[in-house]
Amino acid sequence: MRPATHHQDLRLPSKVVRVLAETLSASIMGVEGLPVRVEVDVAFGLPALTIVGLAGSQVQEARERVRSALRNSGFEVPARRITINLSPADLPKDGTGYDLPIAVGILAASGQLREVERLRDTALVGELGLDGAVRPVPGTMALAAASFAAGIPSLIVSGGAMGEAATVAGLRVHGAASLGDAVAHLAGVRDLAVAEPFLVRSDATARRGPDLAEVAGQALARRGLEIALAGHHNLALCGPPGIGKTLLLRCAADLAPPLEDDEAIEVSRIYSVAGLLDRRSPLLRARPFRAPHHTISTQALVGGGPRVRPGEASLAHRGILLLDETLQFRSDALDALREPLEGGSVTIARVDGALTMPARFTLLAAFNPCPCGWRGSRQRACICEDATARRYLARLSGPLRDRIDLWVTMAQPASVTAGRSDGVEPSEAVAARIRRAWRRQLRRQGMANADLPPGVLDAAHGFSAAADGILAQRGRRFRMSPRRMHRASRVARTIADLAGEDEVGREHIDEALSYRGAVDA
């Protein structure tokens, strides 16, 4: 062994100026990106490749991918002691997007990539194939946004993820097919193509659910759904089986107005993290419509898990969360919805701190009045014990109940004519009304009526002192809690918006109160 000569050997052939290199990348925390610095140190010692900085198993496996990719791309893996640190080192990291920055870092640290100017203002995100191919990773949109927000003007991603990354306005996005291409670009030898700035297009979305015209009767429930979707109010339908609750609520997908531009980016980022984005059209236009089955776990509903992934509540952000057979859901799952229903976000506690993910959705609930479903029906006897039926409805806890703005009790039509479906409005007509009401809200206050914070709905928003007086009087008469009255005022505002009225009138308040739900007796 001749260490001295050895030292010479390393320096001479590659003319290494620095043995330490840095590359930029980003990590996902919940649905937010976080800039990460990849530091690579090539030092003397037994040949080894060590990754530190709370790197998860997927990152650890990068060692094998990077080794092969480097070799198969015509580079050398220095037979030295290579240490890679992902900074900030105290945040857990996972995913395969570090392959590319680690490989480039090794090349820079070992002097195989000598031109490092471009490395300073370019972030790298991509998984490497053993042949050196660069592949897309989930969450590219959030990663791109995070690195741009951290002041890094350029980003190299896989060619397939270019569209997604290009939705971040102002960011220069390059698509690399292989490690070699990326290195050539960084070295200034051969520039990579720049992605076209992504233009937000309002393309017509395909139909996703049944049409309202297929729903027989149930005028009050239809109207409740219209109001719920127009002002983002939570709706509950209660009625016997087979009455059309599910069919009606499934129409919601096509009734909700498309996402606004900023909403589209916000929502698409969540889907990007969840790996649910269609790379060919990376920006979601249709308002999310999520209808998880009632056997869903709490974690899948609100998010979480060892690698935190967005749950259905976050996937329904800015859209609709339909809980069909609501009372069949696990009670801890239902309870977990309290937080997003109140604050519009989900907080997941982890050993290393709490993560917050957006989850502001419109809740559509549908359930039977008792386990057998026939309580209150005239035609068929309910076979449930009283206590059983009470316990069943009690699964919807008080706090959850309080956050439902619209209650509709559905009954079997007493006569055949009442159930006829001719002459009922098709989805298109209702959707147009909802769209107009939504526009009015955006123009007036920039948000949905249901999201108006307390104290904001005043005369300037068309809710006069007289309207306040009527609401207070009715509230006393119907023994409503201040919270319920507060929510009713928002519903009344939406009803006025649907009617195209600037001022909320007595008739709007009265209609809003007709969905206040039964005081159980």
Binding site: R378, T409, P413, R474, R477, D510
Partner: protein, 415 residues
């Protein structure tokens, strides 16, 4: 058998040993002259004996007949148990415990517990003991009462029915209770969920009196969710009565005994809505037993919840109720005057109310009958509800209230 011999000695020769329990019960209090009993000396023993498990109205009446008075029965010690129709296992130890404590101390302890729950003790010796209960032979020896006993001195009518009340049932209960309460009739019921609660509520809201007979002690209102309603009955001049002593160990609610007291207290029993096997039908049976008139509100023949009522009518066991006013007339009460604030209604409101007066309907059905769209129609119904003219009783169907029926004609909606 000492018991049989002694029974004969008290002068029950007409009831030979071995006669059915049912006929013996009807012997009840006959032959017992309460006026000869010293209230002051007797009361503590009445209370103490009534706490012995197995001592019900029947057993107590037997004790009185055998021993002449409660003091003697108490003095007889364990022997008093031999007189009871049925001796539960825990009767002997409980009696021993009570006797160790002493009748006086037991009585004052129970009296204190009763006072704490806002009530008083009434024995059949007390002047305030409801006179109507003497019909329930044998009557309960000791009652626990909160509120005004005078509310039961007025004519009383019981309104009972299923806990799973429909909108129709609730509407009928409310309308009948309101009409009767305004006429000065005290509404008696069992504080249960459904028809019972609706009847109590409508009576006090109309400014009338209402008495709830509890299946539980005064300090444990059953069902718990009606605690507030119970307090309201007392606060508005009505009363709560129970056969069970407060402060005792929690037991099961005794619905059968409650139902018999309800039937005895009332001049008539109205069964508003009852399915085939309903506690309300037991109340009706007891009322027939006591010679009270039974009324039943008919329901649609396809309504499961009304089958019991319809059968009562079909079997000629109950008088059919065709309207609240007809019921009032039948009972012999005069309709009360009531302040009807004739509110001005818009054309649309008047039209909707007119439709509902013809037949209660859901929004769905109203849409077919009017040319209004869903939203304005829903708003109109809320307005009518706020004005007390319409009530939905938690269901999808809207029913006109008594107030709406009153103004129905004067306003002249027939257009």
């Amino acid at each position: 058998m000492i018991g049989v011999g002694a029974r004969g000695a008290v002068g029950q020769a007409e009831v030979p040993a071995g006669t059915s329990e049912r006929r013996f019960e009807h012997g009840g209090w006959t032959g017992i002259d309460l006026a000869t009993l010293d209230r002051e000396a007797e009361a503590p023993h009445w209370i103490a004996i009534s706490l012995v498990p197995g001592v019900g109205p029947v057993g107590f009446a037997r004790l009185l007949r055998r021993f002449g008075n409660a003091r003697n029965a108490w003095a007889a010690g364990p022997a008093l148990l031999e007189t009871l129709p049925r001796v539960p296992e825990d009767a002997a130890p409980a009696l021993a415990r009570l006797r160790r404590e002493g009748a006086g101390r037991v009585a004052s302890r129970v009296a204190a517990a009763t006072r704490r729950s806002g009530g008083q003790i009434l024995t059949a010796l007390d002047a305030d003991y409801p006179a109507a209960l003497s019909a329930a032979d044998p009557r309960p020896p000791v009652l626990y009462l909160a509120g005004d006993p005078a509310s039961m001195a007025r004519p009383c009518v019981a309104i009972v029915g299923t806990r799973r009340a429909s909108g129709y049932g609730r509407s009928c209960a409310a309308e009948i209770a309101e009409e009767l309460a305004r006429a000065g009739v005290t509404i008696v019921s069992g504080l249960a969920i459904g028809i019972d609660a609706q009847a109590h509520l409508a009576a006090v809201e109309a400014g009338g009196l209402s008495v709830a007979v509890l299946p539980s002690p005064l300090d444990r209102i059953y069902p718990p969710r009606h605690r507030e309603l119970a307090a309201r009955l007392v606060a508005t001049g009505g009363a709560l009565i129970s056969e069970l002593a407060p402060g005792a160990a929690p037991g099961k609610p005794d619905f059968a005994r409650r139902n018999r007291i309800i039937a005895a207290l009332a001049r008539g029993v109205v069964v508003v809505e009852a399915p085939d096997r309903s506690g309300a039908l037991l109340t009706a049976a007891a009322a027939i037993d006591y010679g009270r008139e039974v009324f039943a509100v008919p329901g649609p023949i396809d309504a499961i919840g009304s089958r019991g009522c319809n059968r009562l009518i079909a079997d000629h066991q109950a008088t059919i109720v065709t309207s609240a006013a007809a019921l009032l007339h039948r009972i012999g009460a005069q309709p009360g005057s009531q302040p009807v604030s004739v509110t001005s209604l818009s054309d649309a409101e008047a039209m909707v109310l007119h439709r509902l007066l013809q037949r209660p309907a859901s929004i769905e059905e109203l849409i077919g009958q009017t040319d209004m769209s869903t939203g304005p129609l829903a708003g109109t119904l809320t307005l009518l509800e706020a004005r007390g003219l319409v009530e939905s009783y938690g269901g999808a169907t809207f029913h006109p209230t008594l107030a709406a029926r009153r103004i129905g004609r004067p306003v002249g909606l027939d257009r």
